[in-house]
């Protein structure tokens, strides 16, 4: 047993353990709450549960659940980029858990879109050529996100094919998996950047601090990758604490180094764009938007200092804090671009209603719950020699 553990030190193993705990029960209740609200939405319409209006036709179900949720779910994409393209084998053990979180993040983003669509029964139109409108950024996002969810399920399938009869199909799938890995890199590159492009057609309705034009897709892509890596650090730390496993500090320190480089590049693009467009002055105006802008910038600049040195990157606390701040920063960039800085004219306002918030919280709870169940039942997290069996 000991030698087996040494040989396959990183091979994923089901964690086992109880499924019904106080934590999972609370998560399940929150998820039920969300689905109750969604049932009301289906019967009485969006207006019955949301504060959406024609000035703010998109609320947190789009901006948080879809835009931010899918960016948080870029862990699988960002880790696969490192492991398979830059061939950094040391990140291999982090790919599968990251992919699982991504799978849920994206699947739930898809579910959120479905409930947010006013005429959801026509949803299939996006996939049929007679309706296709390729000039639309939304069309591209919808196609790519849907395709990516399918690709991720295929990528993750080997983990679920554990029965003895499954070996054959598993081997066959493994032989072509490289193609799905590549596809799983191209699709998020496309739609994560396009989520930023969605803003371009809004034109003057977007506050100058977020009206990045052609750089918007680049900024959204860079932050999506950063958010992916940050989410991996966050998840690795949380599951180490939650499941009482060893912290993966050295691997995460290496990840922080790469993250730091991308962060520095992102800040150069973001600030450079503001200076170039002459929009920086708006940051010093006494406005709500300026306040949110500084909050957003702080979430990016502080991590730049937090994980600047080799020593600093070895600290689990700094790793975690930097990851959390970056996730907040990416979240604020999107909230600012699509809600705080989206100004459609005087007289409109939006703040999510309680049921709207319940749905968002409930979906996150459902995601965490499903993650816990799957890692306990299926081989996702790398086994560790020191783990108590």
């Amino acid at each position: 047993m000991a030698s087996d553990a040494t040989l396959h030190a990183h091979a994923p193993r089901p964690l086992g353990g109880p499924l019904v705990t106080p934590v999972t029960v609370v998560l399940a209740l929150l998820a039920v709450g969300a689905f109750a609200v969604l049932a009301v939405r289906m019967v009485f319409g969006l207006g019955a549960v949301t504060n959406l209006n024609d000035g703010y036709p998109w609320g947190i179900w789009i901006v948080y659940d879809v835009m931010i949720g899918s960016a948080f779910a870029c862990g699988g994409y960002a880790m696969a980029l490192l492991a398979y393209i830059f061939n950094r084998g040391e990140y291999h053990p982090l790919v599968r858990p990251a992919l699982l979180a991504s799978l849920f993040g994206y699947t739930l983003a898809g579910i959120s879109i479905f409930f947010d669509l006013g005429r959801w029964w026509n949803f299939w139109h996006v996939f049929f050529p007679q309706y296709a409108q390729p000039n639309s950024v939304m069309f591209e996002v919808a196609l790519c996100v849907s395709a990516y969810v399918i690709v991720m399920w295929i990528e993750f399938a080997p983990a679920l094919m554990q029965g003895p009869g499954m070996a054959g199909i598993r081997r066959k799938l493994s032989r072509v998996l490289f193609f799905f890995i590549a596809l799983g890199l191209v699709l998020p590159t496309m739609h994560q950047s396009s989520l930023g492009s969605l803003m371009i057609v809004f034109g003057y309705q977007v506050h100058p601090l977020w009206q990045a034009g052609w750089l918007a897709p680049l900024e959204y892509l860079m932050t999506a990758i950063m958010l992916g890596w940050s989410a991996v650090i966050f998840e690795a730390t949380m599951s180490a604490v939650g499941f009482r496993r060893r912290l993966e500090t050295p691997v995460l320190a290496g990840l922080c180094r790469i993250l730091w480089g991308l962060l520095a590049a992102y800040l150069a693009v973001r600030i450079g764009d503001l200076v170039f467009r002459g929009a920086l002055a708006h940051a010093f105006a006494p406005s709500v938007q300026a306040l949110w802008f500084w909050a957003e910038m702080a979430c990016f600049v502080v991590p730049l200092a937090l994980i600047a040195t080799r020593e600093a990157r070895r600290s689990p606390a700094r790793q975690f804090l930097a990851a959390v701040l970056l996730m907040l920063g990416g979240m604020l960039l999107r909230i600012n671009g699509f809600l705080v800085g989206y100004m459609t004219g005087p007289g409109w306002s939006y703040f999510p209603s309680l049921p709207e918030l319940l749905v968002t919280v409930g979906l996150i709870a459902f995601e965490v719950l499903a993650y816990i169940v799957i890692v306990r039942k299926f081989p996702v997290l790398p086994a560790e020699p020191a783990a108590a069996h």
């Binding site: 396959h8 207006g47 139109h125 490289f178 003057y204």
Partner: protein, 322 residues
């Protein structure tokens, strides 16, 4: 590592070359369709009677709004899922004189401008928003619509509205009463307008009428047509007004098929200052540069597939597992 980075750069370069190979030049604003029709709204002629609001509701079968027991009549304050056309008032100080910016007031019409290069048409993922190739009417097809409301968010004029209070919602917007054309009718708002403040006509006729009015001296005697430009003569004598030196809709975002004349500046009337280049063209130029012919994505996919194939070779059984 250097090897892989080089390969990655190769894949990136292939994708970049792909993007460069396909037409990356700006799409430019779309141009006015040959048989374009639209509306002319002259704020100085509008008396605020709102006959157009009522006629629009009737012609389009839209329900009344803000009906209370104190005011048991249709009283829309803005465009909405139930209102495709509304007359608003600008008021300043004592509001003593019509069409004056300070201590004055003015009426303005809000309804779809039927942009030459419409943001809603560019935004819609399923062709539910379409611009007629001949008449240029921007129409909505609820049978195609998925209800994503990107058009609502995208429209720079806040025109398309959504019905949030029903499980079977839809977008509401002016379609120039094109369902009545076959009966020899036209936009109800223009048909009913008693002063000719709202006129229906071809964009060519509208431009001509705009030029005629702008050439008049304020106070000069003239005639104002009513109803439809080039239709039955319903003109009446009047005196020319003082206009601000701006025809709204002439150049904004590449032009619109509804044009407005007014005595007070348009930003006071809720019509924003806009660039001449359409937002749709900026957005679509970017999309076509990145995705034209799918060249760049396929090049990137090809490059990444080769690299991924080599890098997962050692993990035949289960790439993600070991």
């Amino acid at each position: 590592m250097t090897m892989d980075r080089r390969n990655f750069l190769k894949a990136g370069a292939a994708a970049a070359a792909g993007a460069a190979a396909c037409p990356a030049r700006a799409r430019g604003n779309k141009t006015l369709p040959p048989g374009a029709v639209g509306l002319l709204f002259d704020s100085t002629l509008c008396i605020g009677c709102k006959a157009c609001v009522s006629a629009c509701k009737e012609a389009n079968g839209m329900p009344p709004e803000n009906v209370t027991s104190d005011a048991p009549w249709d009283a829309p304050l803005d465009l909405s899922g139930k209102t495709l056309n509304v007359i608003k008032v600008y008021r300043d100080g004592t509001a003593a004189q019509k069409d004056r910016e300070t201590d004055g007031f003015a009426f303005v019409k809000k309804s779809c401008l039927h942009c030459v290069d419409a943001s809603c048409v560019s935004a819609c993922p399923v062709k539910a928003m379409k611009k007629d190739e001949l008449t240029g009417v921007v129409s909505y097809d609820k049978n195609a619509c998925i209800g994503c409301r990107y058009c609502v968010a995208a429209c720079p004029f806040g025109v398309p509205r959504f019905t949030y209070d029903t499980p079977v919602p839809q977008i509401s917007k002016c379609q120039l009463c094109q369902h009545r054309w076959s009966q020899g009718r036209y936009a109800a708002c223009a048909e009913v307008c008693p002063t000719g403040a709202t006129l229906f006509g071809t964009v060519a006729d509208i431009r001509q009428e705009v030029a005629r009015r702008r050439a008049l001296k304020p106070g000069e005697a003239t005639v104002f047509p009513r109803g439809r430009l080039g239709g039955a003569d319903q003109s009446y004598p009047g005196t020319a007004s003082q206009y601000v030196d701006h025809v709204y809709g002439e150049k904004e975002l590449g032009g619109t098929q509804m044009m407005l004349l007014a005595g007070v500046s348009f930003d006071k009337l809720g019509y924003p200052k806009l660039p001449n280049e359409s937002f749709a063209s900026t957005s679509e130029t970017l999309q076509h540069t990145l995705y034209g012919g799918l060249v760049a994505p396929l090049a990137l996919l090809g490059g990444l597939t080769l690299i991924a194939k080599r890098n997962v070779k050692d993990h035949e059984e289960d790439p993600h597992g070991e």
